[in-house]
Symmetry: C2
Subunit: 406 residues, 2 copies
């Protein structure tokens, strides 16, 4: 379903030309190893660890599940690729029915657009001359690129840059929900939207409003009520814009924690869920519609494999997965099959598992599999994700936008 | 002083062959941009942010300072490259007088050895068949590679693999100080060392004992006393081994927090300090020999540049540097020139600065420069470090072992 054309094609080309990636004396075998080609077909437990694994059956179910749940609600899915940073996965999301994707940063947008993902809405703003210029150049090349603004000066800069490039750039206005990004709802946002709408080289497409604070509120009904309350100024601003005759074809927001609640918001068009395809301990704990303790609409598909390297002390295992492989996010990674294990990733290079009860007896060389604490920053540590089916590596997914925080 | 041969050479070669790194329609200009060649000479404040910057004057002072301080102590420097992950910086450390470097993981070792850093001591263990095989192959190719063992089974596996490869592998025994890695001090460690010493295809070179728990103890004298107390079982084990006639040419350990205290330990040979070349908020806070509040033997050379993207709320700035650019490590990043700023990197994509007093007035597009909270995991987020002198980019240092946690 997915082809690893870009980096693989590159590696092969470089090899023919005698180039090297990080090894000066390059061998074809080394390059295949770098891209994981030698790992295709390998049992997952034989991968060098720490390794980031993706259960493809679970992934595919999650991708169809989000579409299924929203089928008759009038709310579409525009998944946020900041979570996975993989053009290959963005293409799977599009094939599953997404209307486009969101990206957080310009460098991430660029990786998507240049690797065959052609509908990208950038939820962050570009405020420096260099980024504005790049963004406009990207829009010139890719008509499916929409960018956000949240202040008037920036809108003026974008208008000027678009004019200089001889294009009309598509723009949405980001609205402030949690004092982070966004224009102040009400009159200030309306004025900004009207400016964009009237700017000759900008095309106002609608609004964004992401509530990063409500996604992890525990309990479905509490979360649903909180979501509606906090979106009230946004709903009012949407009304205000509507009355003023603005184009509101896009009203985007929401996340994995609120994806099935956004139909409560009048005029809302599409949900920016990111984590739903992987899930993580943070989201599992928020509770779902039929289960207050476990949010199980989606299955945890993303895991870290880590090897036990020391068993010298009782009730303690040391692994090779520390903060550089797991992050410091809380709640801690959960070892599958061992509910009483406490996984501490506080050391950069080592994980420390402490327990009073265990279901197995562990020795040096054994491999633990953990559900990730928080998927986005974990993925951002790895250059590749191993796509696993029937416990074997089916494909290697390059994380092409890893580290693209610019 | 440093040449960016490998990745640059590669990029150019790939370009000649029409290959692409992450862009399928590759232009020479794009590739130069990827490796930062276009940024050479640029004022640092014009870099796309978040950007990781290294003050080259401060770096060079730190590199000579550690050698200067230890000159007449009988303790050598074997810096830990897990901190910087850059062969270029390892070579600078060697030129400054280091006797070799340490590395944490096998993939990191490989990047160093294959990029011209020929004396590498791996402080972690390799316990799986694939890694043992790789380690022995690396030793076959690179005589300067020394690896650690901390259990008998593993030593047997190494002996077998070395025999199969027809080589003698250099080995040190890692000793347990903080219940993490290492063999139990005393008789168990002695037996392991004797086994290694007598194994026909292993060459026992000495011991390691890293105390990851004492490095950040506040106050120089308290830290010094604690270091000595905690090293006591190691000192006794060293004595035991010495009496049994073992080769103890290596007795390595210590870190940036104890680098000038390791001369207290009889027989100690070299310090594995990593952070000293960059420094960070965690280490600045431990206090130094002449200053209980600030550890200032080394200057903070590593900083993150981040751009203000929203100023809509009073006493609050939003930046483009969140957890994916700064990590969740505490204490928080410190904004240079603004001691009253609180930098919260809890959001993946955004930083939130709150303050009651500020020395400047900030607008959207302004750039903040921060001292990193904890250097190792921050570096592990970036593909390149900008080497800065006189506020301009002098060189771009590829972080070739980034993400190499395997």
């Amino acid at each position: 379903m997915i082809k690893h054309l870009n980096r693989r094609g590159f590696i092969k080309t470089a090899s023919l030309a005698g180039g090297a990636l990080w090894l000066p004396n390059t061998l074809q075998a080394k390059q295949e190893e770098f891209m994981g080609e030698r790992e295709i077909g390998l049992p997952k437990y034989e991968l060098d660890t720490p390794a980031l694994c993706l259960d493809l059956d679970k992934l595919e179910r999650n991708l169809s599940q989000v579409q299924e749940k929203l089928k008759n609600t009038g709310v579409a899915v525009r998944p946020h690729v900041k979570t996975h940073k993989c053009p290959d996965l963005a293409k799977m999301q599009m094939q599953a029915g997404a209307i486009g994707v969101c990206a957080a940063k310009l460098s991430e947008v660029e990786v998507m657009l240049e690797n065959g993902v052609d509908q990208v809405l950038m939820t962050g703003v570009n405020v420096t001359p260099n980024k504005i210029k790049k963004a406009i150049q990207l829009r010139k090349k890719h008509p499916g690129f929409i960018q956000a603004v949240d202040n008037m000066e920036n809108a003026k800069d974008l208008q000027e840059a678009a004019k200089a490039a001889g294009i009309t750039a598509d723009v949405v206005v980001d609205l402030d929900v949690i004092k982070r990004s966004g224009a102040i709802p009400g009159e200030p946002a309306l004025k900004l939207a009207q400016f964009v709408d009237q700017a000759p080289n900008l095309n106002f497409r609608g609004i964004l409003a992401y509530d990063g604070g409500v996604q992890h509120v525990h309990g479905y009904q509490t979360r649903r009520q909180r979501n509606l309350e906090r979106m009230t100024p946004i709903i009012e601003t949407h009304e205000l814009m509507k009355r003023s005759g603005l184009n509101l074809e896009i009203f985007s927001g929401g996340g994995t924690g609120t994806y099935d609640m956004m139909g409560d918001i009048p005029g809302f068009t599409d949900v920016q869920a990111g984590s739903y395809l992987f899930m993580d301990c943070q989201y599992m704990d928020i509770g779902g519609v039929g289960n207050e303790e476990l949010f199980d609409d989606f299955a945890p598909s993303l895991t870290i494999l880590s090897t036990v390297i020391n068993t010298n002390h009782p009730d303690r295992l040391i692994t090779d997965g520390g903060a550089k492989a797991v992050t410091l996010n809380k709640p801690a990674a959960r070892v599958i099959g061992e509910p009483n294990f406490n996984y501490n990733a506080g050391s950069d290079e080592y994980g420390t598992v402490t327990f009073t009860e265990s279901n197995g007896s562990y020795k040096v060389g054994d491999v633990l599999e953990m559900i990730v604490p928080h998927c986005d920053p974990v993925v951002n540590l790895y250059d590749r994700i191993y796509g696993i089916r029937n416990d074997k590596v089916e494909k290697v997914i390059p994380v092409l936008a890893r580290g693209m925080s610019q």
